[in-house]
């Protein structure tokens, strides 16, 4: 088992991931992923039924950066704060040195001057690889239970 992907390393990774998004530092978000990584946000309804539709399905750094550009420059929206609460990851290590993990998350949304709402609840289904810079995501699938999105989802989960 690679200590680069041990429990503490993955939980620390998720804490940093949450801190990055909650601070609105979207430019740094693609760096949590390998260059050809897959990032998906998918309703549990589709995931359980084996249907491929996602609300976002981004392949690789290029698309992740396109999303960041969209958030900052093209998507008109009422701005909001995000607050991620991510549970301890359930880890499994593989002989090829990678690790898969699942961690529950809850994301709260607060519009400046408004009240806080439970915005999205689900679990991350992840594939990690060790790199010299620490763990990186080869894949993160956010499978959300809250199938009704509260109007629109602008920022990554």
């Amino acid at each position: 088992m690679s200590s680069a992907l041990d429990q503490a390393a993955i939980d620390r990774f998720n804490a940093r991931y949450a801190a990055c998004l909650d601070a609105g530092e979207f430019d740094a978000w693609p760096d949590f992923f390998l260059p050809d990584a897959m990032y998906k946000i998918v309703a549990r309804e589709n995931y359980d039924a084996g249907l491929p539709l996602c609300i976002l399905a981004l392949e690789g750094h290029g698309m992740l950066r396109d999303r960041v550009y969209g958030i900052k420059n093209t998507l008109y929206h009422a701005p909001y704060y995000q607050r991620h609460v991510i549970g301890t990851a359930l880890l499994e290590h593989h002989t090829d040195g990678s690790a898969t993990a699942e961690a529950n998350y809850a994301v709260f949304r607060t519009r400046p001057g408004g009240i806080s709402e439970v915005f999205n609840v689900g679990r991350y289904i992840d594939r990690f690889k060790a790199t010299p810079e620490g763990p990186k995501l080869a894949e993160r699938i956010c499978v959300f239970d809250s199938e009704m999105i509260l109007n629109s989802l602008i920022y990554p989960l």
Partner: protein, 425 residues
């Protein structure tokens, strides 16, 4: 069925019934906020002589397959019969009113209300109920339903069903004309273009709750003015903008419509002058997000946005296809349910392309997330002002007529002309 506005007890209170202007180019804010108006919309449009979308046939391919859906605020069960027909009935037990079916999708041989085990056939007929004949004890019959209890009169409420090109529609009213007549000859060819002779495949469903009046979403897709202004992607990449060849089509009542256009190469032109959403130097890091491949059935147009009053929008925007179902939830909110589909003969590459382009649409879409946001903010504006305000839609005049361009709000005027007339306002 009597139109609600002919019932004097259902009249709108005088204070909100004033519609000062003639025509339909100024829409009073109360049309979006008043609870009595909303109840009348439900009765007359959603439960009245209109066809309401309830789903795709591809969602219930086999005998016994069912899904829950909505007509207005009423939940319905859409279920495939043994003979391949489709039944739609209200999810409400005839006994004590329980909304008994709680699985979004499933497979059933019958439906049983758990409260008292009343059992219904897949077509909604009452099949049986416990202790109907009473219970025998010491040779004596105890209880039971009255002798004249009629099983046939106590099934689930059944809706009429219309099937077209893999889409399923339902209606509570006996007065609803045939589907083809309902759609009308101006709009029907645009449905045929997408659906005729094709088998659909289901890609998945996305749901969003938008805190605005349901008509704002219909307006949004009858409004060719905004896409090249609000949506950076549309104006920058030439997906929808005022210098494109386009047509606005509507049915004879002004209730259904199609916005048709053909994409151009984008870039700067007269129509991007001063448009802040236009980004001259924007390029995608990954062009696969917009890897458009024309399909033979397009016959020209790269986008057709169809509004079927009151509850359905059908989208073809380049290679992305979806139905968008409007489920009203009070005057100030609606659920918006996107069902993306492809065709049975799609190659794997085409399916992948449709899924990549799905990133543009839906609640997180690069393009359409903006629409939900502005609808919420519109409703906020109506609410803060109160009953005396009105919206304005006078681009290209105050009358209602099809056009050969997109610099117009005629389709919105068309819908409110119909709405006003039918509600007797």
């Amino acid at each position: 069925m009597n139109a609600p506005h002919r019932n004097p007890e259902n009249r709108i209170p005088e204070a909100v019934s004033r519609w000062a202007e003639p025509g339909s180019s100024r829409i009073p804010y109360w049309a979006y906020t008043d609870p009595d108006i909303y109840q009348r919309e439900l009765q007359y449009f959603f439960y009245g002589p209109h066809w309401c979308y309830v789903g795709l046939e591809a969602e219930i391919p086999a005998f016994g397959d069912y899904r829950l859906s909505f007509v207005g605020e009423r939940q319905v069960i859409v279920v495939r019969q043994r003979d391949g027909e489709i039944a739609v009935m209200e999810n409400r037990c005839a006994h004590r009113g329980v909304r008994f079916c709680q699985q979004q999708r499933g497979k059933a041989r019958s439906f049983v209300c758990p409260y008292h085990q009343w059992t219904y056939k897949l077509n909604g007929d009452l099949a049986g109920l416990p202790f109907r004949q009473g219970v025998e004890r010491d040779g004596e019959k105890q209880g039971g339903m009255p002798a004249d209890f009629d099983m046939k009169a106590h099934g689930l409420v059944k809706l009429r069903v219309a099937r077209y090109g893999g889409l399923i529609f339902a209606s509570f009213s006996d007065q609803t004309p045939s589907f083809e007549e309902y759609i009308g000859p101006a709009v029907m060819p645009w449905l045929d273009r997408i659906f005729k002779g094709r088998e659909l495949t289901l890609l998945g469903v996305n749901r969003q709750r938008i805190p605005g009046n349901w008509k704002l979403m219909m307006e949004n897709i009858k409004d060719p003015y905004h896409p090249g202004l609000l949506h950076t992607w549309f104006v920058t990449f030439g997906l929808w903008r005022a210098d494109q060849r386009s047509r606005m089509v509507m049915d004879e009542h002004g209730r259904h419509a199609v916005m048709i256009s053909q994409r151009n190469q984008g870039g700067a032109s007269d129509v991007t002058q001063g448009v802040t959403s236009f980004k001259a130097d924007m390029a995608l890091n990954d062009p696969r997000l917009l890897d458009v491949v024309p399909e033979p059935w397009w016959n020209g147009p790269s986008v057709t946005m169809i509004t079927l009053f009151p509850s359905l929008i059908i989208q073809q925007q380049v290679n992305s296809l979806s139905t968008r179902h409007i489920v009203p939830a009070g005057p100030g909110a609606f659920d918006f349910i996107w069902t993306h589909f492809g065709f049975k003969d799609d190659s794997e590459e085409m399916t992948q392309r449709r899924l990549r382009q799905a990133n543009l649409f839906g609640p997180a879409g690069f393009v359409s997330a903006d629409d939900g946001e502005v609808i919420e903010l519109s409703q906020d504006g109506f609410r803060q002002r109160g009953a005396d305000g009105s919206t304005l839609c006078e681009l290209d005049g105050r009358d209602v007529a099809p056009t050969e361009h997109m610099v117009t709000e005629t389709l919105i005027r068309g819908m409110y002309g119909y709405w006003r007339k039918e509600l007797g306002l």
